[in-house]
Chain length 316, copies 2
């Protein structure tokens, strides 16, 4: 049996035909053109699915269902996007709209929840009953799995893990509060921290690698400079990991999962960040009579959302 | 049918015979004398239960089971206290030890978890599928109920809600970290905050009510002074609620429960703290497309642990 997983993003709709082993056997994408009406976007999504099924040499009866990961607040029970800021969706019944175009069951959940489910079924948290996937990107996304199921809170709008204040009255966060983890531990935050450090240390290798242009600094630039022996970069990364560790230690004290999987581009640094991160976390966590929570890199990268969405059917 | 609930504390073992409606029909307590060997303490606990059953005019067959709320890290599945600092228990199989003295099924869980369960079944969070009970006492205790069941993490040592850093590099916490919620929002923290404020404002009513002795200030003293119109006290309470709100808003963003029940002596202030607290929390929480999380006072007071422990049997 096969499953369709869709990662409905603000820029692109990416989808894949996923097999029982969690492998994407056929994938494709179309631009979202998010300024359009939801009906048009959903019609394109259905067309993409039909094309993928056909390109994979399959028929509808070979596919168990379509799973969709969407940004925003999702009523998974009813298949409704209640609100998604970067899609202009308000109370859109995606399940019903999809059914107008294709005759397959449709499941939908929040995209960070899907990524967390994907990592738990087939990625960095594979085999864990309880896991957190913390994705460090433009923001900090959270996917929580408890007893093998997505945990989303009462109306599935919880696990906004990035919006936990760790520095009261700290950096302004996009959510309106000050000092959220997202304002310190997202890739965006790392870039801002690097820019500030470089402005005070113009001889840093970071600036050289960014061709002397502060606005060209990316997360990778900072790590590349660190690997090249730049002390400013090493300090920026160390400081960044201190904040991240503060947040991860909070999550461990709160959830005590088996595994925390760190996703996003930052996690591609592997042990360069995981080894110091673990040290910083373990000295902070409460207790110590049970096995330590494993801190690992997420493994599915950008496919986590598609693979997780393709596993939604067993969730409800 | 009746249930025995036990609140095994560092000072006293308190127990009650609880009926189907969650009412304690007979209660009693004996001193823990915690310096003793665990076998002696557990024997006393069993004796207390036997006496209560008899005093209530019941027989063993009228009692479904014994539920115990214990401090520390509890392996509920196996009935073992893995570690409890203020009892000197290390890997003590309480279930087996109890069975030596009394022939009834024995369940055991963490005391804060039991209090959360009690509040969810019969107290401030009654009827909620998902709830958090945050108890503001010497420390800040957390009891999390998800889908009607205690959530404790993988080895039941999670939901240490007081040990979430909200002020990085802030006040020293007993757990070793700096800036935990407990260091700002426990009753102990309120008292410390009041002492500092009074030391700068010796004409505060707080000091008068404490008979001029800083060390006599209690949480209630601060609230009494506030009610008597003391501005210093009002400021201390407002500042305290700011920190508490920061923590509660974090919990809402993380768990999105239906209800957060605030327990501990502070919660006896009712609307005097709940009204400003709600205002401070709601302006902080993420999103806003779903019904707001209710913030209520816990209702069972010191009985929450006994009543919750008496409900443990349906948990596993």
């Amino acid at each position: 049996m096969y499953y369709i997983g869709i990662d409905l993003g603000g820029t692109n709709i990416a989808a894949g035909v996923v097999n029982e082993e969690g492998k994407i056997v056929k994938s494709g994408s179309v631009p979202t053109k998010r300024e359009r009406n939801h009906s048009e976007i959903i019609k394109d999504m259905a067309e993409l699915v039909k094309n993928l099924i056909s390109e994979a040499g399959l028929k509808n009866e070979d596919v168990a269902y379509i799973g969709i990961g969407s940004p925003g607040a999702i009523d998974s029970k009813n298949g409704v996007v209640m609100y998604a800021n970067n899609l202009n969706f308000r109370m859109v019944n995606v399940r019903e709209e999809m059914k107008k175009h294709i005759d397959l069951p449709v499941y939908i959940d929040n995209d960070a929840n899907c990524a967390g489910l994907g990592e738990t079924k087939f990625g960095g948290a594979k085999g864990a009953k309880n896991s957190l996937t913390v994705t460090l990107g433009t923001g900090v996304g959270g996917g929580v799995v408890i007893d093998g199921k997505i945990f989303g809170g009462t109306h599935n709008v919880g696990t906004e893990l990035g919006h936990m204040v760790i520095v009261r009255d700290g950096e302004q966060c996009s959510c309106g509060r000050k000092g959220c983890l997202e304002a310190y531990a997202s890739a965006t935050a790392l870039i801002n921290q690097a820019r500030s450090a470089v402005a005070r240390n113009l001889d840093s290798k970071i600036l050289e690698l960014a061709n002397g242009d502060l606005s060209k600094i990316e997360a990778k630039t900072v790590f590349d400079a660190m690997h090249a022996g730049d002390e400013v970069a090493a300090k920026v990364v160390d400081n960044y990991l201190e904040y991240l560790a503060e947040g991860i230690a909070n999550f461990i004290n709160i959830f005590e999962p088996e595994v925390i999987a760190i996703g996003g581009g930052v996690s591609r640094q592997g042990d360069f960040i995981l080894v110091p991160l673990r040290e910083k976390v373990y000295k902070r966590v409460y207790g110590g009579v049970t096995p330590p929570v494993q801190i690992k890199a997420a493994e599915l990268g950008n496919d986590a959302g598609i693979i997780g969405a393709a596993m939604l059917g067993a969730q409800y």
